[in-house]
Amino acid sequence: MRRFLIIWALSWALAPNAYALGVVQISNVSDFNLGSWGIGDPPIAAHIDVCIYALLTLPLTDYTITVSSPGGYVLTNGMQQIPYSLYWEDSGAGSLGSSGGTQLTNGVALTGQMNANILSTSCALGTTGPNARLTLKISTTDMTNALAGTYNGTITLLLGGT
C-alpha cells in the first residue's frame, strides 16, 4: 500500500495533469424499463441509482461522467423518435433525490462530480449505497406526439477521473 501511494504521489507531482493512476468503476447500473404510456398519463420521470467508485483521482472522490447515445438522446421505433433528457445528480449515498441534478448533453463530459466511494467498488463500505442518480425525463408533449409502438434506445455511461 505504501509503495503504491508513493508511486501515485510521484506520478502526480511529475505530471499533475495525468491521472491515469486513478481507477474508477461504475456499477449497480440498470435499465430504464418505462412501461406503457397513454394519453392522460403524466410526463415520464424515472431514475437509476448507481455506484461510483473512484480511487486516487484528484481531488479525491471526484470524477467525470459522460453519457452518450449515437443518435442523440432519442428513443426510436423505426423512423419514429421520442426525445428525452437526462440529468446527473452526484449528491452521494443517502442524499440522492435532494436535487434535480445537472442536465446532460449527449457526449459531453460532466466534470467535477463528487461523492464517489473510495473504499468499495460496490459502495459497500464507508457511506454505503448508490451515490449518483441518473434521471430520464420525457415530456407529455413528446409522448403525445409519438405514434403507438415500442421505442428503444441505449446510452453509454463513461466514467473517468477528474
Partner: protein, 231 residues
C-alpha cells in the same frame, strides 16, 4: 488470504464469491476454472478479480433478463443502459355535437345533418363502427311506434377545413374500412372546431322517408353510437 471475486457484468443474476487462496494465487479457489481474469491488485492482502460466471449462474440461479452492463475497474469505466417505453395503441373521439332538425314540412326535401368530430388515434388510422338505436340497431329515429330511417356517411378528410358531406357509407354495427387522417399529436384536436376536427359524420334522411312519416306531437329521436378502433 481471500480472493474476492466480483462480477462486472452478465446476463444473469450473479453472486460474489469469496475464495480462500494461498499466497494470492488461484490454487485455493474452487472456481479457478472460471477465474482467469485477475486484473487488479490494490492492497497486499486483498485482490480484486473478475470472473465470468455464466455457467455458475446458470447452475445456481434462475435466468433473468438484465441487459444493462456494469463497468469494470480501470482508468475509465463504462456501463450501458437500455431504455424502453411503449406508447399504447389508443383512440378517442370528441367534439361530438347532437344533430337536430327543428321541423320538417312537405316540400322541404332531403335532410342532411352532420357533426364534425375529433378522432385521435395513436396509430394515425382507425376504423368506425356506428350503431343505431332502432330495432335491431337500425339507423332510425322514432316517435312512439313510428320510425324514420336514415343513412350514415363518414368523411375522414382530416384537419384543415376540408371536411365535407361526402364520404364512406356505414352500415349499422359493421366495422368500417380503415380511415386515415386521425389526429396523432393532440388528443382533442387542439380544442376541435371546424378547422381542427379530423372527421365528419353525416346523417341523411330522404324526402321520401320524411314524407311517409306520420306527423307526431313528439319529436322523432334516436341515438347514434360511434366506436373508434385504432388500426
Amino acid at each position: 488470504m481471500f480472493y474476492v471475486v466480483k462480477i462486472p457484468r452478465s446476463g444473469i443474476f450473479l453472486r460474489p464469491i469469496i475464495c480462500p487462496l494461498k499466497n494470492g494465487d488461484m490454487m485455493g479457489c474452487p472456481f479457478k476454472k472460471y477465474a482467469a481474469l485477475c486484473t487488479h491488485r490494490l492492497f497486499g492482502h486483498l485482490k480484486y478479480g473478475f470472473i465470468f460466471t455464466a455457467l455458475i449462474g446458470a447452475i445456481n440461479f434462475p435466468l433473468a433478463s438484465y441487459a444493462a452492463s456494469q463497468g469494470t475497474l480501470g482508468a475509465t469505466s463504462t456501463g450501458t443502459v437500455n431504455i424502453s417505453v411503449t406508447k399504447t395503441v389508443e383512440a378517442q373521439i370528441t367534439d361530438i355535437q347532437d344533430m337536430t332538425l327543428p321541423s320538417w314540412s312537405l316540400g322541404d326535401g332531403d335532410v342532411t345533418l352532420y357533426s364534425n368530430v375529433c378522432v385521435y388515434s395513436s396509430t394515425g388510422s382507425y376504423k368506425v363502427t356506428a350503431t343505431g338505436s332502432g330495432s335491431g340497431n337500425a339507423f332510425s329515429i322514432a316517435s312512439g311506434s313510428n320510425t324514420i330511417p336514415y343513412t350514415v356517411t363518414w368523411n375522414n378528410a382530416g384537419a384543415g377545413g376540408g371536411l365535407s358531406n361526402s364520404g364512406t357509407g356505414l352500415t349499422s354495427t359493421v366495422q368500417s374500412t380503415n380511415f386515415g387522417n386521425a389526429a396523432t399529436t393532440t388528443a382533442d384536436c387542439n380544442g376541435g372546431g371546424p378547422t381542427n376536427d379530423t372527421a365528419r359524420i353525416i346523417l341523411s334522411i330522404s324526402n321520401a322517408d320524411l314524407t311517409a312519416a306520420m306527423s307526431s306531437s313528439t319529436a322523432y329521436t334516436g341515438t347514434l353510437t360511434m366506436l373508434i378502433t385504432p388500426n
